[in-house]
């Protein structure tokens, strides 16, 4: 393994352990960065357990640094270090520390955007310019969000601990949301290139870690399965000239069989537990899409019916309508979309346009495509919608 991949894999784990030992996230980050700088100079080949090396080096560096400094934070950290002295010395990153850090980064008292930025920074080891590029926002905005969030963690004393069992119903969903949104932004970016692989990869990596840390939480497994089954189809999502290819037209031989097998296995594990939740049901839908040579739409629709009961959101209603169209035809689906309100979301008029086109109502379809194009922010998606609009039969000459 090269240093870059070690960094990606170990950074978050090491920061998590050091944050507990030092009682301060900023000190932990500095210490871990110091240790990686040292590694860059010293390693001919990486040691057998690079994480342990980094944690030990970072800890020693932090102790040296704290002895030289006399700020309030430094004194507090020194006290904590003394407090930890009678414990066995860390031999490497501690699993629970990472879990603590995820829950701290995704604490509901932090704003949703801050949660994502902080998670990418502290657990993913992405730097500010990388996060800014991934979300197409100003570096200063990202930096400000991270600084503010860290300040709030310290000032308000947001605890560094894994929530108790009874708190999980409130505390786990924000963590899952952060990973889901991170993946989504990578898979269907709001702007720029349609797919940003590094965000997808990071979300999958963190979801894997979370599933390893909380193997008894079905929704955690469900989220991982959903991400894997979506990620598996990514290679077929863009055509030869970078154009968007929808599920029905995708070359299934391009799908990643290993990820699909892993995803299916997770979905089966979830089914055995029989504690369904929104991520598990979406994963099951993903499993149906990737099973066999074609999608079993009645089964997809049955799953959406189930999803709509526990997550009655307009987006679920929109996705369900797509399945309705396949099972009962476009007219029924169009009628179901009547009451759906999703202001500003291009996929609603895009779906209506598609259904209208199938019904031969080309003029209405054209108008709906125009609405969708106006709302879509991603160039690849806009191009796709334009192509579909152009494919409609030419406008009949007005009779008036």
């Amino acid at each position: 393994m090269d240093l870059a991949s070690i960094y990606r894999a170990e950074y978050g784990r090491c920061v998590a352990t050091l944050a507990r030992v030092l009682g301060d996230i900023n000190l932990a980050e500095e210490a871990v960065q110091d240790a990686f700088t040292t590694a860059l100079q010293k390693w001919q080949t990486p040691p057998p357990n690079p994480g342990a090396w980094i944690v030990t080096t970072a800890r020693n560096r932090a102790v040296d640094r704290l002895r030289r400094e006399s700020t309030r934070e430094a004194r507090h950290a020194q006290a904590l270090l003394l407090h930890h002295q009678d414990e066995p010395r860390e031999v490497g990153p501690v699993k629970d520390d990472q879990l603590r850090l995820i829950f701290t980064c995704c604490h509901p008292a932090l704003g949703p955007e801050a949660r994502t930025a902080l998670t990418l920074r502290l657990l993913g080891g992405l730097d500010v310019p990388e996060i800014a590029r991934a979300y197409l926002i100003q570096e200063s905005t990202v930096a400000q969000r991270i600084v503010r969030a860290k300040k709030k963690i310290r000032d308000a004393n947001i605890p560094y601990r894994v929530p108790a069992e009874h708190e999980l119903p409130d505390r786990l969903p924000p963590v899952l949301t952060v990973l889901y949104l991170m993946f989504n932004e990578g898979y269907a970016s709001t702007a720029g290139p349609l797919i940003r692989t590094e965000l997808c990869a990071e979300a999958v990596r963190l979801a894997r870690e979370l599933a390893a840390l909380m193997p008894d939480e079905p929704e955690v497994l469900g989220l991982l399965a959903l991400l894997l089954l979506t990620e598996a189809r990514r290679p077929a999502r863009l055509g030869p000239s970078g154009e968007l290819v929808l599920l029905a037209d995708q070359d299934r031989s391009l799908w990643n069989r290993a990820l699909i097998a892993e995803g299916h296995d997770l979905v089966r594990r979830c089914l055995r537990r029989n504690r369904p939740g929104p991520y598990q049901i979406q994963a099951a839908i993903g499993a149906v899409h990737t099973d066999g040579a074609a999608t079993d739409w009645p089964q997809v629709l049955a799953l959406y019916d189930q999803l709509l009961v526990i997550a009655p959101t307009p987006v679920v209603a929109l996705n369900r309508a797509v399945a309705v169209a396949e099972v009962y035809g476009p007219a029924v689906a169009l009628a179901e979309l009547e009451g759906v309100d999703l202001p500003g979301y291009h996929r609603l008029p895009a779906t209506r346009a598609e259904l209208l086109a199938r019904l031969g109502r080309d003029d209405e379809a054209r108008a709906a495509y125009d609405q969708a194009v106006a709302l879509a922010t991603n160039e690849t998606e806009r191009a796709y919608l334009q192509t579909r609009r152009t494919a409609l039969s030419p406008r009949e000459r007005s009779t008036s």
Binding site: R72, A79, L80, H83, H107, A109, D155, A156, N157, I158, P159, P163, E167
Partner: protein, 120 residues
Amino acid sequence: MTVMKQYLLSVHFVEGAPAPSDEEMQTMFAETGRINDEMQAAGAWVFGGGLVSPDSATVVRVENGATTMSDGPFAETKEHIAGFWVIKCEDLDQALAWAEKCAAACGPVEVRPFDDLSQA
């Protein structure tokens, strides 16, 4: 090695909002009393109380050695603090749990940590 931290939980009154009925006021007082007892029993209670309306406020200023006073609240806003608690807890999660109880009784509650430096 548990360091206790103090938090301000404040309840806000919005001008022009419909006034609660007598019955609602009674329930609010009863609920608040129960929360105070619970906070005291848990060792979290530092201080708390309700405030009269902001028109009885006075702002005192000292500038260049001269003291001036003005009638009315510091800021002409539509929202005013109607009451507050100061509590001590181990961390924000504990403070948020108290805030949840307070909010159920009195409406939205703002949770603000005290600056450690100013804490005795």
